[in-house]
Structures are given as structure tokens and as C-alpha cells.
């Protein structure tokens, strides 16, 4: 197998669903922008050089429907012979898209492929516009469709993750993000045009565009007391609150992957190699334990030890599950989500896997870390994990 090189990995800011900077920005616009930027930021490469575009999306319907991978790449101005696909593995869709793109290169089937992810939770809500759980199956067992919050409560309850430790974890996420934002450490963010509808003097409205260059869900003023005062949302007497759960967010991300030959031909300095990827299943009603199962499986696959991994991006769907997985794996917290996680930055479902890739690679370069792991839990009861190796 050939090596798959990542030469560019970028993301839009993550902005709060319904209230954030992207609330009036169509998902196609977010995605076509980041795809174009991915090409622009890859020296000597043009849109026509890309063979295929694989886009992760958890609710590929309505504005995100009709194969968003093709729609958005055409809107972005890729030639008609550049193809596009939509990939869905719910919360791991973005990572799945990158993995499949990498695999195409590794197999020798393609030379340049873009993997990415997109979710506008403003335009297409969690669960989609028309949720229709299977009537007979849900009569017997509704776990497969259970609210994510309930699964987080289950993890907290079954594995004794206290409210205090969840709040503390959430607080740290916010503080790390606040610091990274103030020090301008999110180098993977590309300032992104956002739309808004502005009332004119005569009372009519006009669409205008502005540049958004930061994640707008970060709460610098978060305090432990404030978090402690929030009421549980999903269960009476529960521990999962709006403060220690991830935010619902809009965003897009793109990663350009190519073969060694192409890297040389274009005269590029690659960032990292995409080494390995795996998925694993678990009980739907405690889907949050996914990373705990996926990461060891990945290590085994790569014949590596956790000690060799310098940085982790483990998606903070909920403090309860993220904290449980980190503790169970015995990972040093200093090396996990060093610039904050989804509790502060948001979890734009299908985009998350692609977004975390950009963040992890940025952080690996910042710290000079050789191996990095990205992992997340997946609704429905799964985990996914991927291994990246920084290029010298």
C-alpha cells in the first residue's frame, strides 16, 4: 500500500446553532468555501487536479441533501469531471470521509482526493427534519433511537462519573479554548464568509456577507459555580446539563490527501501521513464509551502503544463519556484536547471528524508531536479512531 499524505487540513470556525454567526449561511456555502480554500492553500494544485471529494454529513437532507459532496463542489467551481460523494457515519462522518479518501490514495486508485465534513445544525436539526423511527422495532426497543443525552446519563450513572467531575471537565474545556482563542492558536481556522439579512432603511432586507474568524461558542466567563447551578436536561435527578454537554454547531472542514508522487510533483511539504483507521460497535444506550473501545483497537492495528501517542483529540460529545474514556484508557489529560473540545467549540455532527483532524494536525505541528490520535463516540453505539503521523 502507498502512503496517504495530508498536505492541507483546514476548517471554518464553529458557530452556534440558530444563534451563531452562521445561522443565515447555507451549508452549501460553508462547504464550497472551505473546499475552495483547501485548494487555494495547497500550493501549485488546482481544482482540476482533484479526483474526488468525499464529504461527511450526518443528516444529508434538505439543504444538505441530494449528495452535498457533488452539489457543493460544483458550486465551488470544480470542473464537472471532479466527482463528489456524501459519507454518513453519524458523528464520525467527517473522519470516515477522510479515511475513505486516504484509502483511495493508499490503494492506488486515486492520486488526489479531498476528504471533509459539513453540518449546519441550524438548517438541518439533530434527528433531521422528519424523524420517523421504525414503529414496531421501537415498540420493543427504542434504544437505537435514544436521545444522546440519555446515553450520556447512562454512562455517568453506570460508570459513576460524578456531576462535579463532569462540570470540572467542562470548565477546563472552556478555559483551554478561551486561552487558545486569545493567543490565536487555532491556525487551522480560515476566516469564512457568513451571510446575514440586514434590514434596510425602507424596512426591506438585503443579504450581506461578513467574515467570521473565531468559534463563537466559547464562554470565557464560565465558572464552576455557574456550571453547578445548571439543571439536568435529560433526566430528573440526572447529571448532564447544557453546560457539560457539547454545543450544537454549524461548520465545515476539508483535508487534501495525496500520494507521495503527487507531493513530489507539486513540490509540497506534507503535514502528516494518515496511518490507520478503525471503528467498533457497542450498546446503543451507552454509545459514549466508543473511544474507550476504538482507541485500543487502533493501537493494536498499528502495533503501537498508547505511550507513543503524543496528542489526542477525543470528541467531547458529553463530559461524562469523554471523561470516562480518558480515565479508562489512562491517558494523560495534558495531552487531550489541548485547545478545548466540543463543550466549548461545538460538535457539528458530520463535520466533527474532519474538523478534529484539522485541529489535531495543527496542534501536532504546534507541539512537534509525532503521533496523534483522533477519536469519537458515535450515536447508535459505535466508536471510531484514526492515527496520524507528523511528517519530518
Amino acid at each position: 500500500m502507498r502512503d496517504a499524505y495530508i498536505v492541507t487540513s483546514i476548517r471554518t470556525p464553529g458557530c452556534k446553532r440558530n444563534k451563531g454567526a452562521f445561522k443565515d449561511t447555507r451549508p452549501e456555502d460553508l462547504l464550497s468555501f472551505i473546499l475552495t480554500e483547501g485548494v487555494e492553500k495547497t500550493k501549485n494544485m488546482e481544482k482540476k487536479d482533484v479526483e474526488d471529494i468525499m464529504i461527511g454529513c450526518s443528516f444529508p437532507e434538505a439543504e444538505q441533501g441530494l449528495n452535498i459532496g457533488r452539489i457543493a463542489s460544483q458550486i465551488a467551481g470544480f470542473p464537472v469531471d471532479v466527482t463528489g460523494a456524501t459519507v454518513n457515519r453519524f458523528c464520525a462522518s467527517g473522519l470516515e470521509a477522510i479515511a475513505q479518501a486516504a484509502l483511495r490514495v493508499m490503494a492506488g486508485w486515486s492520486d488526489i482526493v479531498i476528504g471533509g465534513g459539513l453540518e449546519s445544525m441550524t438548517y438541518v436539526p439533530m434527528g433531521g427534519n422528519l424523524p420517523r423511527p421504525h414503529p414496531e422495532y421501537t415498540q420493543k426497543l427504542a434504544d437505537l433511537y435514544a436521545s444522546m443525552g440519555i446515553t450520556a446519563e447512562n454512562v455517568a450513572h453506570r460508570y459513576n462519573v460524578s456531576r462535579e467531575s463532569q462540570d470540572e471537565f467542562a470548565y477546563q474545556s472552556q478555559m483551554k479554548a478561551a486561552e487558545a482563542k486569545s493567543k490565536n492558536l487555532y491556525k487551522e481556522i480560515v476566516p469564512t464568509p457568513a451571510a446575514r439579512y440586514v434590514e434596510q432603511e425602507d424596512g426591506t432586507y438585503k443579504k450581506e456577507t461578513f467574515l467570521q474568524d473565531f468559534d463563537d461558542g466559547i464562554r470565557e466567563g464560565t465558572t464552576l459555580e455557574g456550571l453547578a447551578n445548571l439543571n439536568p436536561v435529560f433526566a430528573a435527578g440526572g447529571t448532564v446539563t447544557a453546560g457539560n454537554a457539547s454545543q450544537m454547531t454549524d461548520g465545515a472542514a476539508a483535508t487534501v490527501i495525496m500520494s507521495e508522487d503527487e507531493v513530489k510533483a507539486l513540490g509540497l511539504k506534507p503535514i502528516a501521513k494518515f496511518k490507520s483507521y478503525t471503528t467498533v460497535g457497542c450498546k446503543p444506550d451507552e454509545m459514549g464509551i466508543g473511544p474507550k473501545l476504538a482507541i485500543p483497537k487502533l493501537m493494536k492495528l498499528a502495533a503501537m502503544d498508547l505511550k507513543d501517542v503524543g496528542l489526542f483529540e477525543i470528541n467531547e460529545a458529553f463530559a461524562s463519556q469523554a471523561l470516562y474514556c480518558i480515565n479508562e484508557l489512562g491517558i494523560d489529560k495534558q495531552n487531550v484536547n489541548i485547545h478545548g473540545g466540543a463543550i466549548a467549540l461545538g460538535h457539528p455532527l458530520g463535520c466533527t471528524g474532519a474538523k478534529l483532524c484539522a485541529t489535531l494536525l495543527n496542534n501536532m505541528q504546534e507541539r512537534g508531536v509525532k503521533y496523534g490520535v483522533e477519536s469519537m463516540c458515535i450515536g447508535g453505539g459505535m466508536g471510531a479512531a484514526a492515527l496520524f503521523e507528523l511528517c519530518e
Partner: protein, 801 residues
């Protein structure tokens, strides 16, 4: 030019001002709410609009926050603009009515009226909501045109719920202005008008406060306890459950003291002036800030035991210590509770032998005499005094109705024996053979008029169609113990329920069928409504649960199913009858009562409407067609051309309303919930309901009424059940609901969605009715349902099992 109130200004944003603004906004009137600029603004705040409006903003916020709600719908606040008396005063020039509700201080009120005079546009009404300051003094120095448009409009707290509106003519108020305000207050604001004179504290507070203070004095003299007083002056005397002292706690002891003191000072010549002097212990309580509800402690307070049980305590007037309040035991109370009618209960109290009865007799006799002595000083008629006490203090009977109830002759004889000074005019009245204050002849009520020393007809607005009066005229077509069909003339008939809380039973169901058959040949339209009293009263509180349980306990399921079917088809056949059916709900309109309305062509509802399908609370589901008709009501707002829509968006709110037993907090709220549709109408005056419903029947007939076509209904089918199963499973896992709640909710979803059919299938209406019926009967076989019903019947509260 017709006079209109297009917009109004309310000056003063305290609890009364906020309440009046909320009422006006609810009635659809643009309202400007003004208050003073805070007097202690810091230098940097002097130009800050938010700071300058701080007081009025706080007033509006308080009015929005208070419970029970002053606003019928929070959205009504959109009609209210706030401002302050410096920056926004000129805006009152655009208002058709300016009502002042500011601090009770003559000088400040005079100054305000002086400021209003040059700014108000000519012809604008100006009124005061003062409860005690003479209008004459207030308007001193104002010009003629101003005084011609100046009057008193005295609302009672809480404004939304208290029916009384006292109108006080000023010295020079034009008659047409008074007539206009009386009509506006009655028709648009839904109030009951009492004509008062410009005397201290007008009618309601004069009689009411005298009664309260006198009771406090007598209580100490006679050695009666506070809980005993409240029991004696509670429901057995046709008074609210809160009795005297709990009411005083709600009003606030400081407010009560203020009114009493103010009256005392202004009524130098009053023969019973001393009955406005509060006992010393009450003044001490006020000094100690024991003011009632607002300071958490008054005559009563509620403590918590270490294990979080509430414990009601009452103050001992002698020591001012609180002790546990125990239900009083007096023979007269026991006798009154056994008595059937209110007059019998009252007689048991005032003519009893024990110390409680003797005390009650003294208090009642004193208050009756005080009231009759106030004619014509404060009011010309006994009717106005009775109405003021009923509408302003929630009594079932005013003083003169009470006097009739305990027997005028007998009570006067006792008064004479006990040395009460029976007023001469009452003695004279009796001597001329007039032995009651009211009498009814051929459906018309007459009252005794002291001035002419004769009976006069008790006039009511021509908008009020009184069922009692029509019935007394012999216009009852059919009747049973539970329901009557009444001829309202012009071919329109009224089906009146008259069971306890107007709950539905077999006889009512039969009456529904009979009414349809009768009107089909003999009439042109039907009104379903009643005029049972009470606050908030009940159009119908649902089906008679006791009947259901009794039948279930002897396994009479077939009988139950038949009865349910009879109700369903009684209502559905009315729906498709050849004539229009208008329902006129008010107050509690629950369960089966709600279903009667949902099946009708049009609802003419009172503004105070507590409407919902609450069956799940007793472990049942609606089975009088609500699962069909609420969904139909939602879908009927769509034109036929809209064929492709997400049925789930309609299904979910219908399902939630029934599964969560959602009850509206007003008619406006019922419209938000979809129980009232765009064709339905809201009427502010409850007394108008039957008359307004009849008008609608006549209008529908006039417009060429044709019954709606019977069509299949589109349902969400199994798709709904999948959606609901998941949500219910989440709520169950989150411990928000019980296993049985979950079972009930799924059953409701199953029925509304049409059972085992695919999504967007069109099914016959009968399918849903069949599913309703089956589910209802099945649930009645469940132990947990029977336990829920039992619990409701014995405690009045729902059981979550």
C-alpha cells in the same frame, strides 16, 4: 362621531395599574403605561432612557410575572407601550381614555390632573381608580369640559379576575360619558357595573371593610378564634374559602388598615364609625411587619416541618404567637355542612345556639343594618350594594340577598329582641307587607326600592340573556334532573346542563340526542351553554367519574362502551346536523366538556376559559371524540389545495395537549393551543355568553348554514407511533414519567394516529372513534386507572402511579 377607546393611557404601574393595563391589552386596546422617573437617579443616569423608565418597566415586569396571571396571554404585552411621566407625557394626547392609578395622595393626584388638562385632547375621558379620595376634591380647579369628562372607574384587585367595576360620577360628568363607560366596562372589559356615589371608599370597600373590621372586634369580644371565624364566614355563608382573615392576608393588613383609617377620617357622621377601628393587635402586627402574604406572615403563616411537610399556623391575637391551625369544631358548622341549600346553611349558622353561632349572628346583623343605612348615602339601590359585594368580594349573596335568605321577618324580630336598632325604613317596609328585598314574578326579578317604597324591576343589559328568567317564563321544552332544553325564541334553543360542575352523565347524553331530534323539526339552531355560578365556574368539568367506576367495578364494560358510543355519536351527529350548533364554554371546560365544544360548529367562549383534555390524569384517554375532533380542528385551518405537508407537525401538538393534559389559562391561551380556532370567538362578559351564542346561531342561519361534509381524515399512522415510542422511552429513561404514563401516552398516540395504518392514510372518522372507545374500555379494566380515578374522587388531585 361615535365614541371609541382606540387607545388608553394608564398612569401608575403598581399592581392595580399593571392589572388595568393587562386587561385593556387583553381586550385589544393599545395601552400606554406611564410612571414616574425614579427620583434618585445618579447623574450619569439622568439621560439614560432605560434608567428613566426603570419604575414602569419593573411594574410591567411584575404584572407579567404575578400568579395567578394578570395577563390572559403574555403576548398581550405587545400592545402595551411603557414610558415615564416626563419624557412621554405628551403621548397621552393620542389616547381616548386616561386612567390614573397613582399613589393615594390628594395633592399628587390634583397636580397630575392639572398636568393632564392642557395636554389631553378635547373629549378624552379621564378617570381615577382611587379607592378613597373624593373626586370632588381631586378635580378642584379643573375646567368645565374636563370635569364633564372626569369620573371614577374603580377596579378591584386582581383586576383580571374580579368582576366589579364601580363607576363614580363626578359632580359634572356628562350622562353620555357615564353611559359610555358603563357599556365599555361591561361589554368590552367584561366587568359588572355598580353605580357608586362620591362617598368615602364608595360601595364595595365601605361595606366590605366595615364587615371585616367589625368581625375582628366582635371576635375578641366573643372569644372566638381566627380559624373559627374563617370557617363561619367561609362557604357555609356563601363566602370564599379564604374566609375573613385569609382574605385579609391576601389583601395585606397595611392596605386594609389604610382603607379603614381613611374611611374613619372621612365619615364623621356615620352612626357606626367605630366599626372602622382596627383592634390593637392588628396594628401591632403591622408594626411587626406581619402584613399577610406579601411578608409571608399575617394572621396565618405556613411553616415547614423538618421532613418538608407544610404546616399551617395561625396567630393568637392575645400573645401574637403562632400555633398550629386546627379545623374548628362547632355544632352550627356541622349543621350547616349537612344543610343542602345556601339559605339553609346560612340559617344554621346565624340561628344556631353555640358561641360561634351567636358571634356570627351579631356580625351578620350588624353588617346588614350597616348596609341598609347606607342607602341612599352610597348607592340608591340594594341591587348595587349586593352586586358590589358579590363581584368585589366573591360572595355568593350580597347583604340583602343574605337577609332574604335568613328570612327578613324572622331576623328583624330577633334583631329587635337582641336590641339591634332596626332601621325605620326596614320596619316600615315590613309593616306595609313587603317581607323580602327581592321577588320573582313570571321570570322577572323585582327589588325593593326604599325611595318609592315599592318594588322595581331589576334591569340588566339587553345583551344579557338570562336562562333563569327564560325558564321562569315557562320556556322549557324538555327537562330532566341533569339537563334542560330551553326555548330562546327565534327558533334557537339552548341545551343547559345542570349537574354538579355540569359533569356529563347518561341523562345529558340522552338530552344531546333529544335536542338534535327536536331541533331538526322544531328549530333552526342550538346553543349549548349554562349560567351556573361560581368563580371560575364550570361549563362542564368532564364526565361523571363516579358513574364510570361504579360500572367498571361490576364489570359493566358493555354498558360503558355503549354509553361512550352514545356520547361520541351524539356529538358527531350534532356536528353533521342540518342546523348550526354553537357552544358557549366558560371556566372549567375539561374532558367531556371540552369534547362537546370541539364537536360544535363554533365556540363562543368566555375570556376566562380553562379548557383541556385531562383524562390522562385519571388514567384514561378522551373518548368523546377529542382524539378525532382536535386533530380535525388543527387540520381545518388548511385550504384543500395544501395537500403535501408534514402531518407530524399537526399530530405532535395535538398529541402533547392530550398526553400532557394541557389546560389553557385563558381563552386567548386556548386559541394558542389550537382548542379555539380562527372561527371561534372570545367574549369578555360571561353574562353575555348565551346571548352572543344565540346571535351567532342566527347569523349562521341567516348566511345559509349547511353542515360540513363528512370526509375521511388524514392520519399519521404507524409513523406517529414510532416517533412517540422514542420520545416516551427517553422520558421514561429520564424518570420524568412513570411506566403507566408511558403506556397511556402510547395509547393516545395510537388512537390519534389512526391505529395500524401507514402514514398519511385516509381513514373514516369512525375508525378513530372505535379506537377511542376500545382504549377507554380497556383502560377501565386496569387497576392503575381505577386507582387514579379513586384518588381523584377522594382527594381531588391526580395520582401518578
Amino acid at each position: 362621531m361615535p365614541r371609541k377607546i382606540r387607545s388608553a393611557a394608564v398612569i401608575g404601574s403598581g399592581i392595580m395599574g399593571g392589572g388595568i393595563a393587562a386587561l385593556l391589552a387583553g381586550a385589544g386596546i393599545k395601552t400606554l403605561l406611564l410612571d414616574i422617573v425614579p427620583p434618585n437617579l445618579k447623574a450619569e443616569e439622568k439621560n439614560d432612557l432605560l434608567a428613566r423608565n426603570r419604575i414602569v418597566k419593573a411594574g410591567l415586569d411584575a404584572a407579567l410575572a404575578i400568579q395567578p396571571a394578570l395577563f390572559m396571554s403574555p403576548r398581550d404585552a405587545e400592545r402595551i407601550t411603557i414610558g415615564n411621566l416626563e419624557d412621554d407625557f405628551a403621548k397621552i394626547a393620542d389616547c381616548d381614555w386616561i386612567v390614573e392609578v397613582i399613589v393615594e395622595n390628594l395633592k399628587i393626584k390634583q397636580d397630575l390632573l392639572k398636568r393632564i388638562e392642557p395636554i389631553r385632547k378635547k373629549d378624552t375621558l379621564v378617570s381615577t381608580n382611587t379607592s378613597g379620595i373624593p373626586l370632588k376634591a381631586m378635580s378642584k380647579g379643573r375646567g368645565k369640559e374636563f370635569k364633564q369628562h372626569f369620573l371614577g372607574t374603580h377596579f378591584f384587585n386582581p383586576v383580571r379576575y374580579m368582576k366589579l367595576l364601580e363607576i363614580i360620577p363626578g359632580e359634572e360628568t356628562l350622562p353620555e360619558i357615564l353611559e359610555f363607560m358603563a357599556d365599555f366596562g361591561e361589554r368590552i372589559l367584561g366587568k359588572g357595573i355598580v353605580w357608586a356615589k362620591d362617598t368615602p371608599n364608595f360601595v364595595g370597600n365601605r361595606i366590605g371593610v366595615q364587615g371585616m373590621v367589625k368581625v375582628m372586634q366582635l371576635m375578641l369580644e366573643e372569644g372566638i378564634t381566627i380559624p373559627e371565624v374563617d370557617a363561619l364566614f367561609g362557604p357555609v355563608m356563601g363566602r370564599p374559602r379564604t374566609g375573613m382573615f385569609k382574605t385579609a392576608d391576601i389583601v395585606g393588613l397595611d392596605t386594609l388598615a389604610h382603607v379603614a383609617k381613611n374611611t374613619y377620617e372621612l365619615i364623621g357622621k356615620d352612626e357606626d364609625r367605630e366599626s372602622f377601628v382596627l383592634p390593637e393587635f392588628v396594628n401591632t402586627m403591622i408594626e411587626k411587619n406581619l402584613l399577610g402574604k406579601k411578608s409571608q406572615s399575617g394572621f396565618y403563616k405556613t411553616d415547614l416541618t423538618p421532613d418538608w411537610q407544610k404546616i399551617r399556623k395561625v396567630i393568637d391575637p392575645a400573645t401574637l404567637e403562632y400555633e398550629e391551625a386546627r379545623p374548628p369544631e362547632l355544632p352550627c358548622l356541622a349543621a350547616a355542612q349537612k344543610a343542602k341549600t345556601l339559605p339553609e346553611k346560612m340559617q344554621a349558622i346565624v340561628y344556631g345556639e353555640d358561641k360561634g353561632a351567636k358571634f356570627a349572628w351579631k356580625a351578620v346583623a350588624n353588617n346588614l343594618i350597616y348596609a341598609v343605612n347606607r342607602i341612599p348615602e352610597i348607592s340608591d339601590t340594594i341591587v348595587d350594594i349586593d352586586n358590589a359585594m358579590k363581584w368585589g368580594f366573591n360572595l355568593e349573596m350580597g347583604p340583602f340577598e343574605t337577609w332574604d335568605a335568613i328570612g327578613l321577618e324572622a331576623s328583624v324580630a330577633r334583631m329587635e329582641k337582641d336590641g339591634f336598632g332596626v332601621p325605620e325604613k326596614v320596619q316600615k317596609m315590613l309593616k306595609t307587607g313587603n317581607t323580602s328585598f327581592y321577588k320573582t314574578e313570571n321570570g322577572t326579578v323585582f327589588y325593593y326600592d326604599f325611595e318609592s317604597e315599592s318594588y322595581k324591576e331589576r334591569m340588566v343589559s339587553e345583551n344579557i340573556l338570562s336562562l333563569a328568567a327564560v325558564k321562569a317564563k315557562g320556556m322549557v321544552v324538555k327537562t330532566s334532573e341533569s339537563a334542560s332544553l330551553i326555548d330562546l325564541d327565534d327558533g334557537v334553543f339552548c341545551l343547559e346542563f345542570h349537574t354538579k360542575l355540569n359533569s356529563l352523565n347518561q341523562q345529558i347524553i340522552e338530552a344531546i340526542h333529544e335536542a338534535r331530534e327536536f331541533i331538526n323539526t322544531e328549530g333552526i339552531g342550538l346553543v349549548i351553554g349554562n349560567q351556573a355560578g361560581g368563580m371560575p365556574g364550570a361549563f362542564s368539568a368532564g364526565a361523571n367519574l363516579a358513574d364510570m367506576v361504579a360500572a367498571a367495578k361490576v364489570n359493566q364494560y358493555e354498558g360503558i362502551e355503549l354509553m361512550v358510543k352514545d356520547l361520541q355519536y351524539g356529538l358527531q351527529k350534532l356536528r353533521y346536523a342540518s342546523f348550526p350548533v354553537v357552544t358557549a364554554p366558560y371556566g372549567l371546560t375539561l374532558g367531556g366538556g371540552c369534547e362537546v365544544c370541539l364537536a360544535s360548529d363554533k365556540i363562543v367562549a368566555h375570556a376566562e376559559l380553562y379548557m383541556g383534555q385531562v383524562e390522562i390524569g385519571v388514567g384514561l384517554i378522551p373518548a368523546g371524540g377529542a382524539c378525532l375532533n382536535l386533530m380535525k380542528k388543527f387540520l381545518s385551518s388548511l385550504p384543500d389545495v395544501v395537500t403535501d405537508f408534514d402531518l407530524a407537525k399537526f399530530f405532535l401538538p395535538v398529541f402533547m395537549a392530550i398526553a400532557m393534559a394541557k389546560v389553557s389559562i385563558s381563552a386567548a391561551d386556548a386559541r394558542v393551543n389550537g382548542f379555539l380556532g380562527p372561527r371561534d370567538r372570545i367574549v369578555f362578559n360571561r353574562d353575555y355568553l348565551i346571548g352572543e351564542a344565540k346571535k351567532d346561531v342566527l347569523k349562521m342561519v341567516d348566511e345559509g348554514y349547511a353542515p360540513p361534509p363528512k370526509r375521511k381524515i388524514k392520519v399519521l399512522g404507524q409513523a406517529a407511533q414510532g416517533m412517540v415510542s422514542v420520545e416516551i422511552s427517553n422520558m421514561l429513561n429520564g424518570k420524568f414519567i412513570t411506566e403507566y404514563d408511558a403506556l397511556l401516552a402510547k395509547k393516545i398516540a395510537y388512537v390519534i394516529s389512526g391505529g395500524d395504518v401507514r402514514d398519511n392514510a385516509e381513514v373514516e372518522e369512525d375508525v378513530i372513534l372505535t379506537l377511542e372507545r376500545e382504549a377507554f374500555v380497556e383502560l377501565l379494566k386496569e387497576e392503575k386507572t381505577l386507582a387514579r380515578i379513586d384518588h381523584m374522587l377522594t382527594t381531588g388531585k391526580p395520582l401518578r402511579n
